[in-house]
């Protein structure tokens, strides 16, 4: 889609909103949007358990980020909002962090319970996003203005959702039609960042419609002027979303939603060709669309049927050209498609005593320039979950799911969760479940030769073909016996067991304490290995194998306290240990050696020196103070995030974290915002992020220095009603 078409489409939505907003004034009476309302836990409902429940009824650790929190933060970046929550940590892909002041090419995601971003399932309205780049999804694909709430379930949720939900699930719930409403938002922040959002919701008789449009752009920033190119390059993106709810009759409701996102990311950097530096420029265009159709049919008071059809596509096309002669330097693409019909039944009418069961089918294709051909997969799954309530105090939930995928063997993942109401204000939870993560496309299908060094990486499923091809081309000597690698090299999914124990305590209706202790054991982790023979150019051949075993354990604590009518305070803390079991064994056996990079003295690593997996902070914490004036006109908040030191990369020749010089220092991010709303229906907000201006161009290139933001929110209906 050309930029012109997108601009026209965007303007069209904007104009239609302005138009309906003006027209709607006579019939619309402004009401409290709940902006300053205080919720108790039972009033917040979530759907990530596949049935709508109040969060007080959920026996597993759950966090909900409300629209109110998102608005108060003033941020337009979902990842920034997520990382202000306890235990959600911004993390680079383990495949690569930054490179000398450039951001890593794989992006950043959210680390949860100490597991890498690839181990958390990201859903939008209960359906998975596709298009992971080496395990990481660009969370910028979700326009913040259209988020109603974010539900975060910690601990394995594979028993309901299948692959990837080992650490948990982040379910982004988008706005639904809410009567007649027209909202506009203009956001401006540092680095020439602009965001325009418009949404319109109508309701007439049995039909409710909501549409949303957004344009977001930024010129990026440069943390190191001494190297060519910016730290992050400019980009612009457009999001469109539409949602229709149609009540056919009292028992049947049809919900249809569609989403389109398209982003152009500009690139300009140096490459080395024939040992000469050459500047290249170009862009990558990312497109993501989905269509989600749901039919809710209430057959009787005790039986409810939901059928879902989800179709989604993702495309990423990148091209860069030499600046000197405009010749194409590099081109890459990735394209993914998923069709997912599903049916679910809900039996029972009593709270916390329902049975849900469902079945679905995935038809998926993926194509990329580094994979030899178009891949097609089929997967079938069934899941079921039953709850019991004993003595009105003990809730038992048992669930399980079977996944039959065309690429790997049958997976069964059960889960058991208990919630015990020990006292009127005290609930104790415990759960145990398993999870799995299917090998990613790269691990299965990659066929890549590094043009500079000359090594070759082969995905497990391409290993046999790749070796035959390399030998035929003379890149492997004819004397090498490749037959041991021509059999079945299929990777198994990575498996986990997660245990979560905790509770929630409400004190004087003013203070909520939550505690969760977790432990995850992950087996069969896939890693790269080196084949025992090399290519004729002397370089190695790598493939992937199930080999590693790691664990993560720790606890998180949250305290929410209302000081009085004006102030409330949130505090959170996570303690985390994440270690490789094989490394622990090697250290115990006296086989792990380090070599000091300055003195070149070698010695054995001690257990005490081992700091665990890279990129994990032992201590993280947050503290947030919110103010809302009595007349609800003024709001202000200050939010601090502490990230304890974490491992960055090895310097002493053993590839593990065991030296103080291998860490990134602890730092604090301080954010603040202030808002004033006017009775005419608009609100002005100003804020600053990273007020302490913490920067590290090499190790934290994703963190610009201090940035400022201004938001203008307009409720058109209210604006025109009041003027009448």
């Amino acid at each position: 889609m050309s930029a012109l078409v997108k601009s026209i489409l965007f303007s069209f939505v904007l104009i239609s909103i302005l138009f309906t907003g003006i027209n709607a004034y006579s019939q619309y009476v402004a009401k409290d949007t709940g902006f300053n309302k205080v919720y108790t836990i039972d009033e917040i409902t979530v759907s990530t358990t596949r049935t709508i429940k109040s969060i007080g009824d959920i026996p597993v650790p759950i966090q909900v980020i409300s629209k109110k929190f998102i608005q108060q933060s003033g941020s337009q970046k979902l990842i920034d909002i997520l990382q202000q929550q306890t235990g959600l940590i911004l993390s680079d892909n383990p495949l690569g962090q930054s490179l000398q002041g450039y951001p890593n090419p794989f992006g950043s995601g959210i680390q949860m319970q100490g597991l890498d971003p690839a181990y958390t399932l990201i859903l939008v309205d209960g359906e998975p996003l596709t298009g992971r780049n080496a395990g990481i999804l660009n969370l910028g694909r979700i326009a913040v203005g259209n988020i109603k709430q974010v539900e975060i379930i910690k601990g394995p949720a594979t028993s309901l959702y299948g692959s990837d939900a080992l650490a948990g699930v982040i379910n982004i719930i988008t706005e639904k039609p809410t009567g007649n409403n027209s909202l506009l938002q203009v956001h401006q922040s540092s680095n020439k960042t602009w965001d325009f959002s418009a949404s319109q919701s109508f309701k007439k008789d049995k039909t409710a419609i909501q549409i949303f449009a957004n344009r977001y752009s930024s010129s990026g920033y440069d943390l190191d002027k001494t190297i060519y190119g910016q730290t992050t390059d400019p980009f612009r993106n457009y999001s469109f979303a539409g949602n229709i709810q149609y009540n056919l009759n009292a028992t049947t409701q049809l919900q249809t939603s569609a989403r389109l996102f398209t982003q152009k990311q500009f690139n300009n950097y140096l490459v080395y060709t024939a040992n000469q530096p050459q500047a290249v420029e170009g862009s990558s265009i990312e497109t993501d669309w989905s269509f989600n159709n749901q039919l809710h049919y209430k057959i009787s008071k005790k039986l409810k049927l939901i059928s879902r059809l989800y179709i989604t596509g993702y495309k990423d096309n990148a091209e860069v050209f030499m600046m000197s002669n405009k010749q194409l330097f590099d081109k890459s693409y990735m394209q993914q498609f998923l069709l997912k019909p599903e049916i679910q039944v809900e039996i029972g009418d009593k709270r916390n005593q329902k049975l849900i069961a469902g079945a679905g089918y995935n038809f998926e294709t993926v194509e990329a320039n580094r994979y030899p051909d178009k891949k097609r997969f089929n997967a079938f799954y069934i899941f079921s979950q039953k709850e019991w309530m004993l003595y009105n105090k003990l809730n038992i939930t048992i669930g399980g799911r079977l996944d039959k995928h065309s690429l790997y063997k049958l997976q069964f993942n059960p889960k058991l969760a208990l919630a015990y109401k020990a006292a009127p204000h005290l609930t104790i939870n415990a759960s145990i479940g398993t999870g799995f993560k299917a090998p990613d496309f790269r691990q299965q299908f990659l066929f890549f030769t590094n043009s500079l060094v000359g090594y070759t990486l082969l995905g497990a499923n391409e290993l046999a073909n790749g070796l035959i091809q390399l030998q035929q081309q003379g890149q492997i000597d004819p004397s090498v016996n490749i037959t041991p690698y021509l059999g079945n090299n299929t990777l198994s999914p990575e498996k986990s067991i997660g245990i979560n124990i905790g509770g929630r305590y409400l004190l004087h209706n003013k203070t909520t304490f939550t505690l969760n202790i977790f432990r995850n054991d992950i087996n069969n982790l896939i890693d790269r290995y080196n084949l025992p023979f090399s290519k004729t150019n002397g370089q190695a051949i790598f493939s992937y194998i199930n080999i590693n075993n790691v664990f993560t354990q720790g606890l998180d604590i949250n305290i929410n306290h209302r000081l009085n009518n004006l102030f409330s305070i949130n505090a959170g803390y996570q303690y985390l240990e994440a270690k490789d079991k094989d490394v622990i064994k090697k250290i115990k056996d006296g086989k792990m050696v380090k070599r000091d990079p300055v003195t070149f003295v070698s010695s054995y690593v001690t257990s005490k020196e081992y700091g665990g997996l890279f990129n994990r902070s032992k201590h993280t914490a947050n503290l947030q103070l919110f103010y809302n004036s009595n007349n609800k006109k003024w709001g202000a908040n200050i939010r601090a995030n502490y990230r304890g030191r974490f491992g960055y990369s090895d310097i002493n020749g053993n590839n593990i974290l065991d030296d103080g010089r291998e860490y990134v220092k602890a730092y604090v991010l301080l954010n603040a915002a202030i808002s004033k709303s006017f009775k005419q229906g608009f609100e002005i907000q100003a804020g600053a992020e990273n007020i302490l201006n913490h920067k590290d161009k090499n190790k934290l290139p994703n963190l610009p220095g201090i940035t400022y933001l201004v938001n203008l929110n307009i409720n058109l209906n209210q604006l025109f009603t009041k003027q009448l």
Partner: protein, 191 residues
């Protein structure tokens, strides 16, 4: 880039310190001496091998490739030995998982040779960890190479660092291998 240059400079300084401390050691009574040396190779998998001779502690010209004057050769990250497919000599190697200082004797048997160009004694990728972040080829700590030289003497060697040579602009052109080794001149296996 600056990081690499810095690391290179630190390593270079360390070498100077190591070398100067070596030269102060009394060497008269001892048949073995630990030396630290370096070998510079082009950042290319198609240029010619750089050859090294342990006895003289010297780089050997590439024109001597068909002689027994060299013990091992290096190209980018590929080690070859003066034996089998690559040379007329008898050179073999064992890669031991032991701290250099704790290796007191060379095994008498068990040496691997470059039987063919694809089946080398020292497998590429076996001795380093490649870091995609910094593009560094870090030699694994706690690994000691035991060589039998082209003329049947024993050497223990440890790779200390593989650094990118300082360069102008972003172009990697050369790798500097820094290693320490002990050559047993009397022909025995003890170090």
């Amino acid at each position: 880039m600056k990081k690499m240059i810095q690391a290179g400079m630190i390593a270079a300084t360390a070498i100077v310190i190591t070398l100067s401390s070596c030269s102060k050691d009394p060497v008269n009574e001892i048949t073995t001496v630990e030396k630290t040396d370096s070998l510079v190779v082009n950042f290319s998998n198609s240029s010619s091998f750089a050859f090294f001779n342990f006895k003289n502690g010297a780089v050997v010209a590439n024109t001597d490739s068909a002689t027994t004057k060299w013990d091992f050769g290096l190209r980018l990250t590929t080690f070859i030995l003066n034996s089998g497919a690559y040379g007329p000599g008898n050179a073999g190697a064992i890669l031991q998982n032991n701290i250099y200082s704790s290796v007191t004797a060379a095994p008498t048997t068990g040496y691997a040779y470059d039987t063919t160009t694809s089946q080398k004694a020292i497998k590429d990728g076996s001795w380093y960890d490649y870091n995609p972040t910094t593009h560094s080829f870090a030699p694994k700590a706690g690994q000691t190479f035991i060589f039998r030289t082209a003329d049947n003497h024993f050497v223990k060697m440890e790779l200390l660092a593989v650094d990118y040579a300082p360069f102008v602009g972003p172009v990697p052109s050369q790798l500097i291998y820094r290693f320490r080794y002990t050559y047993q001149a009397n022909g025995s296996v003890s170090f």
